[in-house]
Protein backbone atom coordinates (compact mmCIF):
# COMPACT_ATOMS: atom_id res chain seq x y z
CA UNK A 1 0.00 0.00 0.00
CA UNK A 2 1.55 3.29 -0.98
CA UNK A 3 -1.27 5.45 0.32
CA UNK A 4 -2.17 6.87 -3.06
CA UNK A 5 -5.66 8.19 -3.16
CA UNK A 6 -8.28 5.92 -4.62
CA UNK A 7 -10.90 7.39 -6.90
CA UNK A 8 -14.48 6.32 -6.51
CA UNK A 9 -16.70 6.03 -9.53
CA UNK A 10 -18.50 9.35 -9.18
CA UNK A 11 -16.02 11.87 -7.86
CA UNK A 12 -12.61 13.14 -8.75
CA UNK A 13 -11.20 13.56 -5.26
CA UNK A 14 -10.12 11.07 -2.71
CA UNK A 15 -11.67 10.68 0.71
CA UNK A 16 -8.89 11.03 3.30
CA UNK A 17 -11.43 10.35 6.04
CA UNK A 18 -11.83 6.79 4.84
CA UNK A 19 -9.19 4.17 5.40
CA UNK A 20 -7.95 2.51 2.23
CA UNK A 21 -9.74 -0.66 3.23
CA UNK A 22 -13.08 1.12 3.18
CA UNK A 23 -12.95 1.24 -0.57
CA UNK A 24 -14.06 -1.81 -2.46
CA UNK A 25 -12.58 -0.35 -5.60
CA UNK A 26 -9.64 -2.67 -5.48
CA UNK A 27 -8.44 -5.11 -7.99
CA UNK A 28 -8.42 -8.70 -6.86
CA UNK A 29 -4.98 -8.56 -5.24
CA UNK A 30 -6.16 -5.64 -3.06
CA UNK A 31 -3.99 -3.08 -4.79
CA UNK A 32 -5.49 0.39 -4.65
CA UNK A 33 -6.04 1.64 -8.14
CA UNK A 34 -6.85 4.89 -9.85
CA UNK A 35 -8.91 2.97 -12.37
CA UNK A 36 -10.93 0.44 -10.38
CA UNK A 37 -13.38 -0.27 -13.19
CA UNK A 38 -10.56 -0.84 -15.62
CA UNK A 39 -8.81 -3.23 -13.24
CA UNK A 40 -12.04 -5.16 -12.76
CA UNK A 41 -12.45 -5.35 -16.53
CA UNK A 42 -8.87 -6.53 -17.07
CA UNK A 43 -8.98 -9.22 -14.40
CA UNK A 44 -12.34 -10.46 -15.65
CA UNK A 45 -11.15 -10.77 -19.28
CA UNK A 46 -7.76 -12.17 -18.21
CA UNK A 47 -9.33 -14.86 -16.05
CA UNK A 48 -11.87 -15.61 -18.80
CA UNK A 49 -9.07 -16.21 -21.31
CA UNK A 50 -7.17 -18.39 -18.84
CA UNK A 51 -10.29 -20.38 -17.98
CA UNK A 52 -10.92 -21.37 -21.59
CA UNK A 53 -8.01 -23.87 -21.93
CA UNK A 54 -7.99 -24.94 -18.28
CA UNK A 55 -11.75 -25.45 -18.09
CA UNK A 56 -11.78 -27.44 -21.32
CA UNK A 57 -8.76 -29.44 -20.12
CA UNK A 58 -10.57 -30.43 -16.91
CA UNK A 59 -13.84 -31.36 -18.61
CA UNK A 60 -12.08 -33.50 -21.21
CA UNK A 61 -10.01 -35.19 -18.51
CA UNK A 62 -13.18 -36.01 -16.57
CA UNK A 63 -15.09 -37.23 -19.62
CA UNK A 64 -12.16 -39.51 -20.53
CA UNK A 65 -11.69 -40.78 -16.97
CA UNK A 66 -12.20 -44.56 -16.97
CA UNK A 67 -13.30 -44.80 -13.35
CA UNK A 68 -14.16 -42.51 -10.46
CA UNK A 69 -12.90 -44.46 -7.48
CA UNK A 70 -10.23 -43.12 -5.15
CA UNK A 71 -7.57 -45.44 -6.61
CA UNK A 72 -8.01 -43.81 -10.02
CA UNK A 73 -8.62 -40.16 -9.12
CA UNK A 74 -6.00 -39.66 -6.37
CA UNK A 75 -3.00 -40.78 -8.50
CA UNK A 76 -4.41 -38.76 -11.41
CA UNK A 77 -4.45 -35.58 -9.32
CA UNK A 78 -1.11 -36.35 -7.67
CA UNK A 79 0.93 -35.99 -10.87
CA UNK A 80 2.93 -32.77 -11.14
CA UNK A 81 1.14 -31.44 -14.21
CA UNK A 82 -2.37 -32.27 -13.03
CA UNK A 83 -1.92 -30.82 -9.56
CA UNK A 84 -0.44 -27.66 -11.08
CA UNK A 85 -3.20 -27.35 -13.68
CA UNK A 86 -5.89 -28.00 -11.07
CA UNK A 87 -4.44 -25.28 -8.83
CA UNK A 88 -4.42 -22.79 -11.72
CA UNK A 89 -7.95 -23.80 -12.70
CA UNK A 90 -9.38 -23.38 -9.19
CA UNK A 91 -7.58 -20.05 -8.69
CA UNK A 92 -8.69 -18.48 -11.98
CA UNK A 93 -12.17 -19.90 -11.35
CA UNK A 94 -12.23 -18.11 -8.00
CA UNK A 95 -11.03 -14.80 -9.48
CA UNK A 96 -13.55 -14.93 -12.33
CA UNK A 97 -16.37 -16.07 -10.10
CA UNK A 98 -15.78 -13.41 -7.42
CA UNK A 99 -15.64 -10.63 -10.02
CA UNK A 100 -18.89 -11.86 -11.55
CA UNK A 101 -20.62 -12.23 -8.19
CA UNK A 102 -19.47 -8.71 -7.28
CA UNK A 103 -21.21 -7.29 -10.35
CA UNK A 104 -24.41 -9.20 -9.57
CA UNK A 105 -24.38 -8.01 -5.95
CA UNK A 106 -23.71 -4.42 -7.06
CA UNK A 107 -26.66 -4.62 -9.44
CA UNK A 108 -29.31 -5.98 -7.10
CA UNK A 109 -28.33 -5.17 -3.52
CA UNK A 110 -28.05 -1.73 -1.94
CA UNK A 111 -25.39 -0.50 0.46
CA UNK A 112 -24.41 -1.14 3.21
CA UNK A 113 -25.40 -4.79 2.73
CA UNK A 114 -23.78 -4.69 -0.72
CA UNK A 115 -20.28 -4.06 0.63
CA UNK A 116 -20.70 -6.64 3.36
CA UNK A 117 -21.88 -9.30 0.90
CA UNK A 118 -18.99 -8.64 -1.49
CA UNK A 119 -16.53 -9.04 1.38
CA UNK A 120 -18.25 -12.17 2.67
CA UNK A 121 -18.21 -13.83 -0.76
CA UNK A 122 -14.51 -12.97 -1.11
CA UNK A 123 -13.70 -14.33 2.32
CA UNK A 124 -15.63 -17.58 1.80
CA UNK A 125 -14.24 -18.01 -1.70
CA UNK A 126 -10.63 -17.56 -0.63
CA UNK A 127 -11.12 -19.90 2.35
CA UNK A 128 -12.52 -22.63 0.10
CA UNK A 129 -9.72 -22.13 -2.43
CA UNK A 130 -7.00 -22.42 0.22
CA UNK A 131 -8.59 -25.60 1.58
CA UNK A 132 -8.80 -27.08 -1.92
CA UNK A 133 -5.17 -26.25 -2.77
CA UNK A 134 -3.97 -27.75 0.52
CA UNK A 135 -5.97 -30.89 -0.32
CA UNK A 136 -4.41 -31.12 -3.77
CA UNK A 137 -0.91 -31.16 -2.34
CA UNK A 138 -1.82 -33.34 0.64
CA UNK A 139 -2.68 -36.30 -1.58
Amino acid sequence: MDGRCVLSYGGDCCRPDLALNDYLDFDIVNRPSREPGLQHWRWQRGSAIALTPFGLWFIFQMLLMPDFDYQTIAPWLATTFNSFAMTVLLTTLLVHSLLGLQVVIEDYIANPLQRALIRITRFIGIAILVAAIISIFAI
Binding site: T52, I59, Y70, L94, G100, A132, S135
Partner: protein, 126 residues
Protein backbone atom coordinates in the same frame (compact mmCIF):
# COMPACT_ATOMS: atom_id res chain seq x y z
CA UNK B 1 -58.03 15.90 -16.66
CA UNK B 2 -58.95 14.07 -19.83
CA UNK B 3 -57.37 10.71 -20.19
CA UNK B 4 -58.94 9.40 -23.36
CA UNK B 5 -55.66 7.94 -24.55
CA UNK B 6 -53.35 6.25 -22.04
CA UNK B 7 -49.94 7.82 -21.82
CA UNK B 8 -47.07 5.66 -22.99
CA UNK B 9 -45.18 4.01 -20.18
CA UNK B 10 -41.63 2.76 -20.07
CA UNK B 11 -41.25 -0.75 -21.46
CA UNK B 12 -41.38 -3.08 -18.49
CA UNK B 13 -39.87 -6.53 -18.86
CA UNK B 14 -43.27 -8.24 -18.59
CA UNK B 15 -44.62 -6.61 -21.75
CA UNK B 16 -41.40 -6.76 -23.72
CA UNK B 17 -41.33 -9.50 -26.34
CA UNK B 18 -38.29 -11.62 -25.45
CA UNK B 19 -35.43 -10.88 -27.80
CA UNK B 20 -32.48 -13.16 -28.44
CA UNK B 21 -30.02 -10.53 -27.23
CA UNK B 22 -31.73 -9.96 -23.89
CA UNK B 23 -32.42 -13.67 -23.30
CA UNK B 24 -28.78 -14.63 -23.99
CA UNK B 25 -27.59 -11.83 -21.74
CA UNK B 26 -29.69 -13.01 -18.80
CA UNK B 27 -28.68 -16.60 -19.48
CA UNK B 28 -25.03 -15.55 -19.30
CA UNK B 29 -25.55 -14.15 -15.82
CA UNK B 30 -27.72 -17.07 -14.75
CA UNK B 31 -25.22 -19.66 -15.98
CA UNK B 32 -22.45 -17.66 -14.32
CA UNK B 33 -24.26 -17.86 -10.99
CA UNK B 34 -24.83 -21.59 -11.41
CA UNK B 35 -21.21 -22.15 -12.40
CA UNK B 36 -20.06 -20.22 -9.31
CA UNK B 37 -21.98 -22.72 -7.22
CA UNK B 38 -20.50 -25.52 -9.33
CA UNK B 39 -17.01 -24.12 -8.67
CA UNK B 40 -17.67 -24.42 -4.94
CA UNK B 41 -18.79 -28.00 -5.62
CA UNK B 42 -15.61 -28.69 -7.60
CA UNK B 43 -13.46 -27.33 -4.77
CA UNK B 44 -15.48 -29.43 -2.31
CA UNK B 45 -14.90 -32.51 -4.45
CA UNK B 46 -11.13 -31.87 -4.38
CA UNK B 47 -11.30 -31.35 -0.60
CA UNK B 48 -13.04 -34.70 -0.07
CA UNK B 49 -10.21 -36.25 -2.08
CA UNK B 50 -7.79 -34.82 0.49
CA UNK B 51 -9.94 -35.96 3.41
CA UNK B 52 -9.58 -39.61 2.54
CA UNK B 53 -11.00 -42.56 0.71
CA UNK B 54 -14.29 -43.08 2.58
CA UNK B 55 -15.39 -39.42 2.40
CA UNK B 56 -14.46 -39.28 -1.28
CA UNK B 57 -16.48 -42.45 -1.86
CA UNK B 58 -19.62 -40.90 -0.35
CA UNK B 59 -19.14 -37.73 -2.43
CA UNK B 60 -18.78 -39.93 -5.48
CA UNK B 61 -21.89 -41.87 -4.49
CA UNK B 62 -23.92 -38.65 -4.54
CA UNK B 63 -22.43 -37.59 -7.89
CA UNK B 64 -23.35 -40.91 -9.48
CA UNK B 65 -26.95 -40.69 -8.21
CA UNK B 66 -29.76 -39.21 -10.30
CA UNK B 67 -29.46 -35.79 -8.63
CA UNK B 68 -25.70 -35.77 -9.12
CA UNK B 69 -25.95 -36.72 -12.79
CA UNK B 70 -28.58 -34.01 -13.31
CA UNK B 71 -26.43 -31.35 -11.67
CA UNK B 72 -23.39 -32.43 -13.71
CA UNK B 73 -25.40 -32.30 -16.95
CA UNK B 74 -26.72 -28.84 -16.04
CA UNK B 75 -23.19 -27.74 -15.18
CA UNK B 76 -21.89 -28.99 -18.55
CA UNK B 77 -24.61 -27.10 -20.46
CA UNK B 78 -23.91 -24.03 -18.33
CA UNK B 79 -20.17 -24.31 -18.90
CA UNK B 80 -20.40 -24.59 -22.69
CA UNK B 81 -22.99 -21.83 -22.89
CA UNK B 82 -20.98 -19.47 -20.69
CA UNK B 83 -17.81 -20.33 -22.61
CA UNK B 84 -19.36 -19.74 -26.04
CA UNK B 85 -21.10 -16.54 -25.02
CA UNK B 86 -17.96 -15.43 -23.17
CA UNK B 87 -15.93 -15.81 -26.37
CA UNK B 88 -18.64 -13.73 -28.08
CA UNK B 89 -18.10 -11.07 -25.43
CA UNK B 90 -14.34 -11.18 -25.98
CA UNK B 91 -14.88 -10.62 -29.72
CA UNK B 92 -16.99 -7.57 -28.87
CA UNK B 93 -14.25 -6.37 -26.51
CA UNK B 94 -11.79 -6.47 -29.38
CA UNK B 95 -14.26 -4.52 -31.50
CA UNK B 96 -15.67 -7.26 -33.72
CA UNK B 97 -19.29 -8.11 -34.48
CA UNK B 98 -20.95 -5.17 -32.81
CA UNK B 99 -23.57 -4.50 -35.49
CA UNK B 100 -27.12 -5.82 -35.10
CA UNK B 101 -26.82 -8.38 -37.90
CA UNK B 102 -23.67 -9.94 -36.48
CA UNK B 103 -24.93 -9.76 -32.89
CA UNK B 104 -27.87 -11.96 -33.92
CA UNK B 105 -25.73 -14.22 -36.09
CA UNK B 106 -23.19 -14.82 -33.30
CA UNK B 107 -26.06 -15.22 -30.82
CA UNK B 108 -27.58 -18.10 -32.76
CA UNK B 109 -24.09 -19.57 -33.21
CA UNK B 110 -23.70 -19.54 -29.42
CA UNK B 111 -27.06 -21.33 -29.04
CA UNK B 112 -26.08 -23.99 -31.59
CA UNK B 113 -22.55 -24.54 -30.25
CA UNK B 114 -23.54 -24.73 -26.60
CA UNK B 115 -26.48 -27.06 -27.25
CA UNK B 116 -24.30 -29.37 -29.36
CA UNK B 117 -21.31 -29.42 -27.00
CA UNK B 118 -23.53 -29.57 -23.91
CA UNK B 119 -25.59 -32.47 -25.22
CA UNK B 120 -22.51 -34.41 -26.34
CA UNK B 121 -20.71 -33.87 -23.03
CA UNK B 122 -23.80 -34.65 -20.95
CA UNK B 123 -24.34 -37.91 -22.88
CA UNK B 124 -20.70 -38.94 -22.40
CA UNK B 125 -20.86 -38.09 -18.70
CA UNK B 126 -23.76 -40.48 -18.10
Amino acid sequence: MTNSRPRPISPHLQIYRPQLTAVLSSLHRLSGLFLSAAAVGLAGWVITLGLGESIFASAQQFLSSGYGAGLIALGLFGFFYHLANGLRHLCWDWGYGYDIKNVYRSGWMVVACSLTAGTAAALISL
